[in-house]
C-alpha cells in the first residue's frame, strides 16, 4: 500500500472577489528551513491596477451598506479567521521565528482586532462626529464619511496582525482596500482571501496582493484613482516615495510608526478609533432653522 499523496493548495491573489493568478505569470517561493513550503504569486503592477478598478467599483455599494451590516461582516471575518486558526498558525510558524506558540498568539490577536472594529462600525460616527453650536438660526452637524479607495502597505511583521490592524479600520468605516501584504512572510496574506470570500465581504472590497514592495510601492503611491494610503513598517526612503506619489492628487497618507512587532498587540493604540479617523472625511452640514 502506498502512502496517500496530500493535496497541496495553490495560492493565488485575491482580486475583485476571485482568486486569479497574477497576470504576469510570475511566482515566488516561500521557504521554511531551506525547504520550499509554498509557491505564491508575485503580483505585478497590472495586477495592482486591476485591483484598483475592482475596488473603485465596489466602493459605492460598500459605503452605502448600513453600519450594522458592515459590523456583522467584519464579525463574520473574525468567525472565519477563528475557524481557520490552525491553518494560519501553521502558515505563520512556517516562516516567522517563535514557533507555533507565538503564531497562535498573533492569530488570536488578529481575530480579536476584527471583533473590536466590527463593534466600531456603528459607533465611530458618534465618537468622531458632532453637533456644532453655531451662532445664528442654523442646525449644524459634522459626520465622518469614507475617504474611498485605500492602498495598504502592511508591515513584514507581524504579518497577519499588522495587516488586519490596518485593514479592519479601513473596512469598518466604509472604505475599500488594496493590500500589499508582508513581503517577508506572505503566506498569511495568501490565505486571508479565503476568509474574505466566505464572510460576505462583497467582491472588490478587499483585494490582497503578494509581491515585492520594490516593484509595487511607487504605483501604490502614485495611482490617480487611489484616495488614501495606509503604510506600516516602511523605511524613511519608502515613506518619502509614498508621500511624493501622494502629492500628485493629494492622497491622504497615514504612516504608522511602530517600533517593534510586539507593539501591534497593544489594544489601547491599535483598537482605537484613531485608526479610523485617518480614513474618513469630515462633512459638515448646515441648514437654517426657521418656520
Amino acid at each position: 500500500m502506498s502512502e496517500r499523496l496530500p493535496v497541496l493548495k495553490t495560492y493565488k491573489l485575491y482580486l475583485g472577489g476571485a482568486f486569479p493568478r497574477t497576470e504576469s505569470g510570475r511566482s515566488q517561493v516561500v521557504e521554511s528551513a531551506g525547504q520550499p513550503v509554498a509557491h505564491l504569486c508575485r503580483a505585478s503592477r497590472k495586477d495592482f491596477r486591476n485591483a484598483v478598478v475592482a475596488a473603485r467599483k465596489a466602493l459605492s455599494g460598500w459605503s452605502a451598506r448600513s453600519a450594522y451590516n458592515r459590523g456583522q461582516i467584519l464579525y463574520r471575518m473574525a468567525e472565519m479567521l477563528e475557524g481557520k486558526a490552525t491553518e494560519f498558525v501553521q502558515a505563520l510558524a512556517a516562516t516567522v521565528p517563535g514557533g507555533e506558540e507565538r503564531a497562535r498568539r498573533e492569530v488570536e490577536a488578529a481575530v480579536d482586532r476584527l471583533v473590536s472594529f466590527a463593534g466600531w462600525a456603528d459607533k465611530y460616527a458618534q465618537v468622531l462626529g458632532c453637533q456644532n453650536p453655531v451662532e445664528g438660526p442654523y442646525h449644524n452637524f459634522s459626520l465622518p464619511e469614507p475617504t474611498g479607495v485605500v492602498t495598504i502597505v502592511a508591515p513584514d511583521e507581524p504579518a497577519l496582525l499588522g495587516l488586519i490592524g490596518q485593514l479592519a479600520p479601513v473596512l469598518c468605516s466604509g472604505n475599500v482596500a488594496v493590500v500589499l501584504g508582508s513581503e517577508a512572510h506572505p503566506l498569511a496574506t495568501a490565505i486571508l482571501g479565503e476568509v474574505c470570500a466566505t464572510s460576505d465581504v462583497p467582491a472588490g472590497v478587499v483585494n490582497l496582493l503578494t509581491g515585492f514592495r520594490e516593484e509595487l510601492l511607487e504605483q501604490f503611491a502614485a495611482h490617480r484613482d487611489v484616495d488614501a494610503i495606509s503604510a506600516a513598517g516602511v523605511s524613511a526612503e519608502e515613506r518619502r516615495t509614498l508621500e511624493l506619489g501622494a502629492a500628485e492628487n493629494l492622497k491622504r497618507v497615514h504612516v504608522l510608526e511602530v517600533a517593534a512587532a510586539e507593539d501591534w498587540f497593544e489594544e489601547a493604540r491599535f483598537a482605537s478609533p484613531e485608526l479610523i479617523e485617518s480614513f474618513v472625511e469630515i462633512k459638515t452640514l448646515w441648514h437654517p432653522s426657521a418656520s
Binding site: N132, V134, Y138, E243, N249, L250, P273, I282, L285
Partner: protein, 489 residues
C-alpha cells in the same frame, strides 16, 4: 419691475473712522518689529484706488531663520504655561480685536478691497469669535479626543491667502496657540496689514515674545518658511497648485501638513426649492467677497424645469448689485484684490466666450474711485461641463450656469471635479436634501443656505481641495500630537 417714477440712488456713505497706516512696516519677530535683514521691501497697493498704500518688509532666508529660532525658543515655556492661562491670552486677543474692530475693518477693506460692510460684519467679528472659541479649548484638550493624551506639535509655519486676511490669520493662529504651539505666520503679499496689526495686538496683550511671529513677503518667503527644518507643522490655505508643491516639498520630512485649497463648488437648485430664497443664496454664494472665496458656489446646477425662471430672477437680482468704492457702506461688490487677479478674471471671461458660452455682465457701478480694480458681477449661460469656466477656479464674481434633469444627474455633475470643498443644495423636500447632501463629495454642504461660517463649525475639503479641518473640535487635531493613554511612551 419697471417704474415710471424717478430712480432713487444712494448718496455716498463712506466709512469715516480713521485707521492709521504707517509709511512702512517691518517684520514681527520675537516680539519686536524689525526691518528685513537684507533691507528688502515691497509696495502694498490699495485695490480700491490703485494707489500706493504703504510699504512692507520682505523676509529673506535670514529673517525666516530668526523667526523660526524665536518660535523654537518660545515654545517650551508657552506649552508649559497652565493651560487656562494660555487660554486667557487668547481671550485677551479676542477682546482687543472686538475693541479695535472698526479700525481693523477699515484696514482690511483698504488693503484688500472687500466692501466695508463685509469686513465690518463678517471678517472682523468672525476673527474675534475664532480666538474666543479656541481660547476655551486650551484647558480642555484632553477631553477633545477620548482615550488620547494631547500634546503640542511644536513650531507651526502658517501661510495664508489674501481673500480673508485677518480671518485666515485667526483660523490659523487660534487653534495652534491654544494647543501650546508657537507660530510663524506668513500673510499674502497683497494683504499684509491686518496680520501686522494683529501682531501689535499680541504685543498689547503681553503675549510672550516669540509665540507669534509674522513674516511678510511673497512666494519665496513662504517657500523658505515651508522648507525650514525647524518647522514641525505646515498649514497652508491657497491654491491647489501651490498646495501640491508644498506636499511634495514636505514628503519624507516628517512635517505635519494640512491644506485648505481651491474649489469649484456646485450649487444645486432643485425644482421644488423656494426659488426667491435660492436666488439670494446663489448671489451670496458667488458674489460674496467679489467671488474671492475658495468655497464660492461657482457652478450653478439648476433643474431644467425651473432654469428659465431662476435665470430670470437671478438676472434681475444681479442688476441690483452695487459695484463700488469698498469703503462705501452701500457697496455690495468692492474692488478686485489686485491688478493681477483682475487680469485672471478677465482672461476667463474671454476664454469662456471663446469656448462657446454666453457672457452676461450685470450689476451697477456706483461712484468708482479712479484707478481701482473693478469687475461687474457676471454669469455665463450655455456652459458645457468640459469648459474651462466649468472646471477651473476663477476666484472672481463669475458664475457658470448649467442644468440637470434628475437628482441623479445633479450628483454626477456635482461630483465631476477633482475638487471637493463645498456644495449648496436647495430643495424644500427633506428626504431629497439628505440624499443629495450625503452623496455630494464635499467637506461643507450648505442646505438652503450658502457661505455660512462659524468658529465652532469644521471647514475643509475632500479630494484635491485639501485635507484637515479648521474650526470646531476637529480643527484642534492638526495642532496636537495624540497618544493613547494606555500605550507606552
Amino acid at each position: 419691475m419697471s417704474s415710471s417714477s424717478t430712480t432713487w440712488d444712494y448718496a455716498p456713505a463712506p466709512e469715516s473712522a480713521p485707521a492709521e497706516i504707517a509709511e512702512a512696516y517691518g517684520l514681527f519677530i520675537d516680539g519686536e518689529f524689525i526691518e528685513a535683514l537684507d533691507g528688502g521691501s515691497m509696495d502694498s497697493i490699495e485695490p480700491g484706488t490703485g494707489q500706493l498704500l504703504t510699504r512692507f518688509a520682505v523676509a529673506g532666508q535670514a529673517d525666516v531663520d530668526a523667526a523660526v529660532a524665536a518660535a523654537t525658543r518660545a515654545q517650551p515655556a508657552w506649552a508649559a504655561l497652565p493651560a487656562r492661562e494660555r487660554g486667557k491670552y487668547l481671550y485677551r486677543i479676542a477682546r482687543r480685536l472686538q475693541e479695535r474692530a472698526r479700525e481693523f475693518a477699515i484696514l482690511e477693506t483698504r488693503d484688500g478691497g472687500k466692501p466695508i460692510k463685509e469686513s465690518r460684519d463678517v471678517d472682523i467679528p468672525e476673527a474675534a469669535k475664532h480666538f474666543f472659541y479656541y481660547a476655551g479649548w486650551a484647558d480642555k484638550l484632553d477631553y477633545a479626543f477620548p482615550g488620547r493624551r494631547a500634546q503640542p506639535v511644536g513650531v507651526c509655519a502658517q501661510i495664508i491667502p489674501w481673500n480673508f486676511p485677518l480671518l485666515m490669520a485667526a483660523w490659523k493662529l487660534a487653534p495652534a496657540l491654544a494647543c501650546g504651539n508657537t507660530v510663524v505666520l506668513k500673510p499674502a503679499e497683497t494683504t499684509p496689514l491686518t496680520a501686522l496689526r494683529l501682531a501689535e495686538v499680541c504685543q498689547e496683550v503681553g503675549l510672550p515674545q516669540g509665540v507669534v511671529n509674522v513674516l511678510t513677503g511673497a512666494g519665496e518667503t513662504g517657500a523658505a518658511l515651508a522648507a525650514h527644518p525647524g518647522v514641525q507643522k505646515l498649514a497652508f490655505t491657497g491654491s491647489t497648485e501651490v498646495g501640491k508643491k508644498l506636499a511634495e516639498g514636505v514628503a519624507g520630512s516628517g512635517k505635519r501638513l494640512t491644506l485648505e485649497l481651491g474649489g469649484k463648488s456646485p450649487h444645486i437648485i432643485c425644482e421644488d426649492a423656494s426659488l426667491d430664497q435660492a436666488v439670494e443664496g446663489i448671489v451670496q454664494g458667488i458674489f460674496f467677497n467679489q467671488g474671492h472665496v475658495c468655497c464660492a458656489g461657482s457652478r450653478l446646477l439648476v433643474q431644467e424645469s425651473v432654469q428659465d425662471e431662476v435665470v430670470e430672477k437671478l438676472a434681475w437680482r444681479m442688476q441690483q448689485i452695487r459695484v463700488g468704492d469698498p469703503l462705501d457702506k452701500n457697496t455690495d461688490l468692492g474692488a478686485i484684490n489686485s491688478a493681477g487677479q483682475l487680469e485672471t478674471i478677465q482672461r476667463y471671461l474671454a476664454l469662456g466666450q471663446e469656448e462657446g458660452a454666453t457672457l452676461h455682465e450685470s450689476g451697477q457701478f456706483g461712484t468708482l474711485p479712479e484707478g481701482g480694480y473693478y469687475q461687474r458681477p457676471c454669469y455665463f449661460e450655455n456652459v458645457q461641463p468640459a469648459h474651462s469656466i466649468a472646471r477651473e477656479e476663477i476666484f472672481g464674481p463669475v458664475l457658470s450656469v448649467m442644468s440637470f434633469r434628475t437628482p441623479e444627474e445633479a450628483i454626477q455633475r456635482a461630483n465631476d471635479t477633482p475638487y471637493g470643498l463645498a456644495a449648496g443644495i436647495w430643495t424644500d423636500k427633506g428626504s431629497k436634501m439628505f440624499e443629495l447632501a450625503s452623496r455630494v463629495r464635499a467637506g461643507v454642504v450648505w442646505c438652503n443656505t450658502y457661505n455660512r461660517f462659524d468658529a465652532s463649525s469644521p471647514f475643509g475639503g475632500y479630494q484635491q481641495s485639501g485635507f484637515g479641518r479648521e474650526g470646531g473640535r476637529h480643527g484642534l487635531k492638526p495642532y496636537l500630537k495624540l497618544t493613547s493613554w494606555g500605550a507606552e511612551g
